[in-house]
């Protein structure tokens, strides 16, 4: 690129790992076309004033039925001002107010991208979606799993969630590092399973509904973040699910093991240099030029989703 400074580094205020996650999700959603053309899906998100997910999904997937839920009623003007496209509908209310009141006949992608820690409200929202969304729908949940925040909040969380979910014996040492995210995974997985069991007990669907976990991300731009997501599908549509081929995705994680989105610090030149040898370059083959091998490996895992520098705010 002519004119760009050669040692310019990525601006971490722009959350590169989050950017990578968003693109990985977009790539996953492409695979849904076996159920129905993705552009015909509905997208529900919590865009705040940036709407980055809405912009990406509209542009790359063509989705037009889009709903943004924004809880801070004081920001209504600002959110409206930043609305990126005419097709984005803004609901100024809480998820608890909006999700149950939506119709759920249409295949939907719902990304509950909360900034906060796990709460009873989160589980309630998950239950609302899992118990109603039709086969071929996707649900993703993102939560803040930062140890300091969890430590400070743990008593309130216990009061909110109850000792059945967060027993007294769980203390700060159980939330260090990525253990808090591990908790989230166990609690949410069980919650989803229970919601499905209840849904299926009622026999209101033509065939039993299942959930397949597709992604399980850990990443940290500033705080440690956790995302769990997957596909809701009817047993009768298992062949469609198979045809989607989700397991071919490099970052596909169906269980307790998470995919760590770890964005290495590289210069522009280094990125161009590594790109020329990917996807098949091995560390011995590539002339490393002082780049640590670990950084090469980290880059190789997600180079296709690496934030581009033209896309400063996508």
């Amino acid at each position: 690129m002519t004119g760009s400074p050669s040692f310019q580094r990525i601006n971490y205020a722009l959350r590169p790992a989050k950017n990578v996650e968003r693109k990985m999700l977009a790539e996953t959603f492409h695979h849904l076309s076996r159920f129905q053309p993705v552009r015909e899906y509905r997208y529900i998100g919590l865009g705040s004033v940036y709407f980055s997910d809405f912009v990406l999904f509209h542009k790359t997937l063509g989705i037009t039925d889009m709903i943004c839920i924004e809880r801070e009623t004081g920001s209504a003007d600002r959110v409206e001002f930043n609305r990126p496209f005419g097709c984005v509908k803004i609901e100024m209310s809480s998820t608890a107010g909006v999700l149950p009141s939506l119709g759920w006949d249409k295949r939907s992608i719902t990304w509950l991208d909360y900034d906060s820690v796990l709460s009873a409200g989160t589980l309630s929202d998950v239950d609302t979606v899992v118990s109603r969304a039709p086969s071929g729908s996707v649900l993703a949940v993102t939560l803040n799993a930062h140890p300091r925040l969890l430590e400070d909040s743990i008593d309130d969380m216990r009061e909110d969630l109850g000792a059945e979910i967060l027993p007294e014996r769980i203390g700060p040492s159980d939330l260090e590092g990525w253990k808090g995210a591990g908790f989230y995974w166990s609690i949410l997985s069980e919650s989803i399973r229970t919601s499905l069991e209840r849904r299926n007990d009622g026999h209101t669907d033509p065939s039993p509904m299942m959930f397949e976990q597709l992604f399980h991300f850990h990443y940290q731009d500033s705080s440690k973040m956790f995302t769990l997501g997957g596909l809701l599908y009817s047993e009768a549509e298992t062949t469609l699910r198979d045809a989607c081929g989700f397991h071919q995705l490099d970052f596909y994680r169906p269980g307790p093991e998470a995919f760590l989105i770890d964005v290495p610090k590289l210069t522009f030149r280094e990125i161009r240099h590594l790109d020329r040898r990917l996807p098949s370059g091995h560390p011995n083959e590539v002339d490393l030029r002082g780049i640590p091998v670990e950084d090469l490996e980290r880059y190789a895992r997600l180079y296709r989703f690496f934030p581009g520098f033209v896309e400063a705010e996508f």
Binding site: E159, G162, A163, I165, R169, S186, E190, T194
Partner: protein
């Protein structure tokens, strides 16, 4: 169709019978219907505790343990609480109901003759009771006995008895106790055992129902994680004293019932506030915030969150468990029981001054928030174990010294933002409310007070 012309011969005096046999399937389904899975498992724990009681009349249960395993493949409850005496196993333990002559355990929890069978049928279709206990006499010869029942087969059989499949002498290393195993679990049970939330709930139930017994030394665990029972405590200081009431009820020709109730103040926790009721050391109700205890009856208001500091503990003890006011599921109280009705009068008397105190506290906090003097009284008090509070006394606490707020009127008006900003700057305040207060004070001090 017979004509009415002539009555058929041999009708007068004819006798016949309408069948009234119970079917096992019906019986089992009625038995298990009204009890929740956690309550059924706690019934089994109750039996273990009764065993410990037979071993230790002094209520010191150190060294006794109960271990519950709740997995989708099998359920197991094992204890070292003395074992089931063989004569009891043969003649009484597996009957439905209590035949005449059933020996009673003093101060027992089990008394309806149904807990164990109900739990076993609730759990699954195959069970095995293995026990090492005395043949007859508590200090006599020990026997190892096994009852193993494939319930599906039992359902089809005519008899109601269960086979004792093995009787032998125990090895020297085998400890006295009982292990009950259930396999071929019902679908709903398999599902629940697979949920960590359910297991935590079970732990919580065992902890609350058996708080006292755990404190007296019985080690309890579920899936190898111990069940902890924190002490029940009330705040006490030179200014603040919990209320204690004790009664002995001597009904003619019956064993006496001893009643003790303690009420006072503990950390503010809505989920834990209210009355707890125990029968022979086993919690049957709590934390109760309804009219089943005192709330909304007579002079006591309905429960509100300002009463989140309130704790009341009521204990009923008797050598004859049948005298106590519990229900067959051991959840909730039998409000019709004269024992309970009399006791409830005491519970209400104890509650009233605590509620007065908490109402005053609420007023003070509304006026002064964290600086409320009564809040300071609570903060300076120390927690005291309810077990240690035995001397009859009324609840006492300081009265609020803050006067009632004088009647107030509200002033609301609009001013141009420009002028408002200027005044704020001069007064060095940020809020409109402060501007209102200070300008009013200014006028009052300079024009009215003189």
């Amino acid at each position: 169709m017979a004509t009415a012309a002539a009555a058929p011969a041999n009708v007068d005096g004819e006798k016949d019978t309408a069948k009234g046999d119970p079917t096992k399937d019906f019986f089992i389904s009625m038995l298990v219907r009204d009890i929740e899975l956690t309550a059924a498992i706690v019934d089994l724990v109750d039996n273990c505790v009764d065993g410990a009681l037979r071993m230790h009349h002094d209520l010191d249960f150190a060294g006794r343990w109960v271990r519950v395993t709740a997995k989708p493949e099998q359920f197991k409850i094992a204890d070292n609480c003395g074992g089931i005496p063989l004569n009891i196993l043969k003649d009484y333990a597996l009957c439905f109901g209590r035949p005449e002559g059933t020996p009673t355990t003093e101060r027992s929890i089990g008394q309806f003759g149904v807990g164990m069978k109900r739990a076993l049928f609730k759990l699954g279709e195959w069970f095995r009771i293995e026990t090492i206990g005395p043949r007859v006499h508590p200090d006599g010869e020990l026997v190892h006995a096994v009852v193993q029942v494939p319930v599906r087969d039992w359902r089809r059989a005519k008899v109601w008895d269960f086979p004792i499949t093995e009787i032998r002498t125990p090895r020297p290393d085998e400890e006295r106790g009982t292990t009950i195993t259930v396999k071929d679990l019902h679908q709903e049970v398999i599902r629940e055992f697979g949920r960590s939330q359910f297991i935590e709930r079970l732990r919580g139930e065992i902890a609350t129902k058996h708080r006292w017994n755990i404190q007296r030394g019985i080690g309890m665990s579920v899936d190898e994680i111990g069940v902890d029972a924190p002490l029940a405590e009330l705040f006490e200081s030179s200014d603040l004293r919990p209320g204690v009431a004790t009664l002995q009820m001597n009904f003619p020709k019956e064993k006496p019932v001893v009643f003790k109730a303690v009420a006072g103040v503990a950390p503010s926790k809505p989920r834990e506030a209210g009355w707890y009721v125990y029968c022979n050391g086993r919690m049957v109700l709590g934390p109760d915030q309804t009219s089943q205890t005192v709330w909304g009856t007579g002079e006591i208001p309905r429960y509100h969150n300002q009463f989140a500091y309130f704790r009341g503990y009521a204990f009923f003890d008797s050598d004859d468990a049948g005298m106590l006011p519990w229900r067959t599921t051991k959840n909730g109280v039998n409000e019709d029981s004269p024992v309970y009705q009399r006791a409830r009068q005491e519970m209400i008397s104890l509650s009233r001054p605590v509620i007065d105190f908490l109402n005053q506290l609420k007023e003070e906090v509304e006026q002064k928030a964290e600086a409320a003097p009564l809040l300071g009284v609570i903060k300076q008090a120390k927690p005291r174990a309810v077990e240690q509070l035995n001397k009859t006394q009324g609840f006492s606490a300081p009265r609020s010294t803050l006067g009632p707020t004088p009647p107030e009127g509200r002033i609301t008006y609009w001013e141009a933002l420009d002028r408002l900003r200027q005044v704020k700057k001069r007064l060095k305040v940020k809020s409109n409310e402060d501007v209102g207060h200070l300008t009013f004070e200014y006028y009052y001090d300079s024009e009215v007070e003189k």
